[in-house]
Structure formats: C-alpha cells, structure tokens
Symmetry: C2
Subunit: 232 residues, 2 copies
Amino acid sequence: MHALWVWAHPHASSLNGRLQEVGRNALEAAGWTVDEIDLYREGFNPLLVERGEADVRRHQERLRAADLLVVQFPLWWYSVPAILKGWIDRVFESGFAFDVPDPETGKPLKYGKGGLVGKRALTVVTAGDRAATLGPRGISGHIEDVLWPLLHGTFWYTGMDPLRPHLITDADTVDPQVMARIEGDLSVRLEGVMTEPRIAYRPMIEEHYDHTIKLHDSVAPGKDGLSAHLEG
Amino acid sequence: MHALWVWAHPHASSLNGRLQEVGRNALEAAGWTVDEIDLYREGFNPLLVERGEADVRRHQERLRAADLLVVQFPLWWYSVPAILKGWIDRVFESGFAFDVPDPETGKPLKYGKGGLVGKRALTVVTAGDRAATLGPRGISGHIEDVLWPLLHGTFWYTGMDPLRPHLITDADTVDPQVMARIEGDLSVRLEGVMTEPRIAYRPMIEEHYDHTIKLHDSVAPGKDGLSAHLEG
C-alpha cells in the first residue's frame, strides 16, 4: 500500500514534526511506502489564481498514486492552517477531484463518488483545547462537526472514505510520558487504518436526499444537526 | 461608524468584486467610513511563521479602528480561501484578538469576551450550491454549521458579535435581473447591520458550561448538534 502524508507546521522541531516522523515510521514498518509533502519546507504557494500550474500537476500525480491520504496539522481557528487550505484549493481541481462525469449518465459524481474514489483519508490534528471542549457538547464544537468542511465537504465530496479524526488535545503541555502515549496511540491507529470503518456519511442518492439535495423528511426525522447526514 | 471590509477573490471583475463595490457604496451612502482590504490585489502573505511582523501590526490597527468587520469571499471547499484564512491566522494574534486577560481575575477572556469585543462581524459569502443544499438538512450542511469555525470559533471566540451569514447561492449563474436583486438585498442588509440581532451563541459562563467547558446536561438536553450552543 502507498500513503501520501501531507503536513503543515512552520517549525519542523514541533510536536507536529515529531508526529509525522512517528507516523511514517509506523506505516513503513508495516510494509507501506510513504510519500511526504511538508508544505512549509517545500515553500508551497497556497494562492489559487489560475488552473493547471505545473506544481499542481505534480501534486495531483502524487495524490493519485496514494491509497491513503494523511493530512496532519495544528488546529488554527478551528480549521486548517492557510498553507494547507491552499493545497486543497489548488490541488483538488475540477476534472481531477470533482466534476468528473459519470460514464453512464454524464452527470458529475460527488459525495461518495468523484475523482478520488477508492482512497481513504485520515486527519491527524493537534489542538491546545482540552479534550472535553472538542467532544460532544463541548464549547468548541465536536471535532467531527468542526472539521465538517474537510471531512464531508472535501474528502467525502470527492469520493474518498473519511476516517474519524485522530485528535491530540492539550497539545501545548506534552511531557515525555504523555508524548510516549501519543506516539503509541498514533502507531496503533495507523496499524488498522485500512480496515477501520469510515465515517458513515450518506451517499448522494435518492434513498436519502430529495431533488433539492436535502434529506427527505422521513430520513433522520426532526434532526437538524450535521449528524443527520450519518447513516444508521 | 467605521467598517473594515476584507475580501478575497483572485479576479476583481468577478461577482465578488462587484459585491464589495455595492456594499461599500451602500455603507458610505448611509454615512459610514469604509476601509477596504483586497487581499489578492494587496498580495497579502498568508503564511504564519513568526509573530508580530510589520504588515500584521498595520492590519491589526485597521481592525482595531472598525465597529463592523465585513469578511467577503467565495465558499471554497466549504470554507474560506487560503489567503483569507492566512489573514486570520496572522492578524488574530494572541494578546490582540485573544488571550487578553480579564483585569479582575487575570484569566483569558473568550467566547463572548476577548480582544475584539464591541465589534460586529458580517460574512458575505458566494457559493455555487443551490440554496437548499446549504439550508437546514441540505447535503452540504446548513451554512451556519459549515461556517462554525469562523462564526463561533473566530468571531465569537474573540468577543465579536457574529451576524447571520449573508449567503448568495447559485453564484455561477447570475443574469442581470438576478444581479439587480442580489445588489438590492445586500444594500438592504447593510442598512440594518448595526441593529439586527447577533447569532445567539451562549457566552462561556457557568450558567451554560461546566468546568470542562461542555454544556451542562440540563442545558439543551439531549441535543448534540452545534445549535445546542444557541440560547433560547
């Protein structure tokens, strides 16, 4: 299997720098090949201006080759750092990641289908928040709701299987003992990364959604939160 | 009154370019002074590396002077364009926008309090989606949930009063008649911008949140969506 590990942190000596080393080592020890994009060290230009620039083509080829995309970042303002948003803005182009027509109907495929179908997507996220604040009913919002634009609006939209975020909280106060646990947890998580269930977002089919592409009244009746879009 | 209008679109001749003209004109006709930051034309550097750089200081002074912050952008991957995320990553610094200590307790103030208290914040957002898909139970998520990281995690976190997003859907197919309606709607919205109610997010006080800063079981009992954080 082959993974693309994309990460964004200004300082390679940070917790994030260490985590990507640990993660890559764990995958390689399990027989994976791993390609790495360190957006800051690469000096990636995050500004979308025109389509189809040469650096974007190369990144698309690297993503195309991957069975697993790992996206690793510190949670800044409850979202991804700008350089990582720019990687998505530029690399996830129309015709590559989305607006890929169904061979039978000619209609574009999205939400469960799309240009990146067959890949799994894992986020590895560090946050200064305490765990409860990013859990259900925590003041910062449940991490799966907070990352909805990435998990559902980007990964699921383009056909990838989004996995539950691998969240590391209290990230500003990590002592060596805690670090050992964090490293162990990440390695264990990666061992099962191809077999764990994906987040069970509903596919964009008539069983779930009406012709305006909102949920039928009979589906998750009365629910208005983002979790209404989960099956089962 | 004084407004800071920050916007992000690579092409000044776009719908977004026209909307900021219309919006600024409407505010000025109502007696406002308006400062504008056109992030693309300014060549704003979105990469956070170090703190306290000179261009950031200048942007902080411009934000400090504003009674109203307008943030205008096309919805890219259900979030802000990278250049705008970078403006937030860099300008909303610790000690300026957050981690401002309470003069009485010395504890940092956030969620309803913070460095930017007293300002209102309006998002003006264009999206290719049809209206229903960004409404309640729409497949893309309700726009107020989709923009949670900005509305709650950034504006409310730093003490600003977040307003309901001004959302323009079907933005890829705007004919002149529709454009006239869009322009009129924006002007009307801006006329009432200082008097309309803010989004009723709960402040971070013991009445709502426990010591782990999640909602008390007795508050919005049984609700797990982001709307549990709304009062009333």
